[in-house]
Point group: C2
Amino acid sequence: MRIGELCQATGVGIETIRYYEKEGLIPAPARTDNGYRNYGSAHLERLSFIRHCRALDMPLAEIKRMLGFVAHPDADCGDINRLIDEQLARVRVRLKSMRALEKQLSQLRAHCGAGHTAAECGILHELVAAAQGEACACHTKAP
Amino acid sequence: MRIGELCQATGVGIETIRYYEKEGLIPAPARTDNGYRNYGSAHLERLSFIRHCRALDMPLAEIKRMLGFVAHPDADCGDINRLIDEQLARVRVRLKSMRALEKQLSQLRAHCGAGHTAAECGILHELVAAAQGEACACHTKAP
DNA sequence: AAAAACCCTGTAGTGACTTCAGAGTCAATA
DNA sequence: TATTGACTCTGAAGTCACTACAGGGTTTTT
């Protein structure tokens, strides 16, 4: 199976496959006479596994650890649990801040409809005022 | 005001301040005799504005546009509204995918408590199975 | 025979910083 | 006075996970 076929089979871009090889996430495959990469089903499975983990937004370093567990089936399962827990914690932190962000932005958006000049824009006023509030209240030294 | 003081006043790292200057988000300040950057209150306000926009996760390019509106108060306000709408749309897309992610991960996490080997781990089984399902069903050409 | 499609390597670019190396400047201390 | 420590400077490189490109070779199709 050539790289283009692997790309078709997994939906992973050719450049990305080569990148994963360079980064050591998939082993370097055998080459045909003309130097083309020649993949087998093990590569396909491993690449799909990687993409599934990436779809869970795991960093490549964590995926490497997961691949280590796949390769060592007698390792302790607790480490896998911890890894997923860490990932879940990261996702929840980001989720929380995204929710706050959505709220802030939609509130901000409500401060202005169209048809004004920038000088009259409630959005801009809010942003400038918020910036001033922050700069004065939060970080400056004693007066 | 030296760069360290501006850093204190705004909570923005020194290197980040220099980076913003290089990228043209804040104007290059005057220098003292020894070559140190010398900031005024206009810099402080502008930097706070930038950080507030960054806290809304706006890309620097959009923030540049916002700063343009601040500088041209007679511009049309509709552009500001559009900019915020775009940002809000981006945030909502990401929020949706983060929610899905959280769900997937917590479901995955439920497949295993501790105390097994990796071979017996429900999480690993799920991931491997999911990868196989994806590789077979979604992308391969006709059999 | 020529064109299109595929593959190769190696390098650079993305965004928004962060870190580092190597050097100069300034205030306070031994 | 010497020197320590804190601050500042520039410019380059590193981060993450790709993506795009330049410049070439190979295979398949027309």
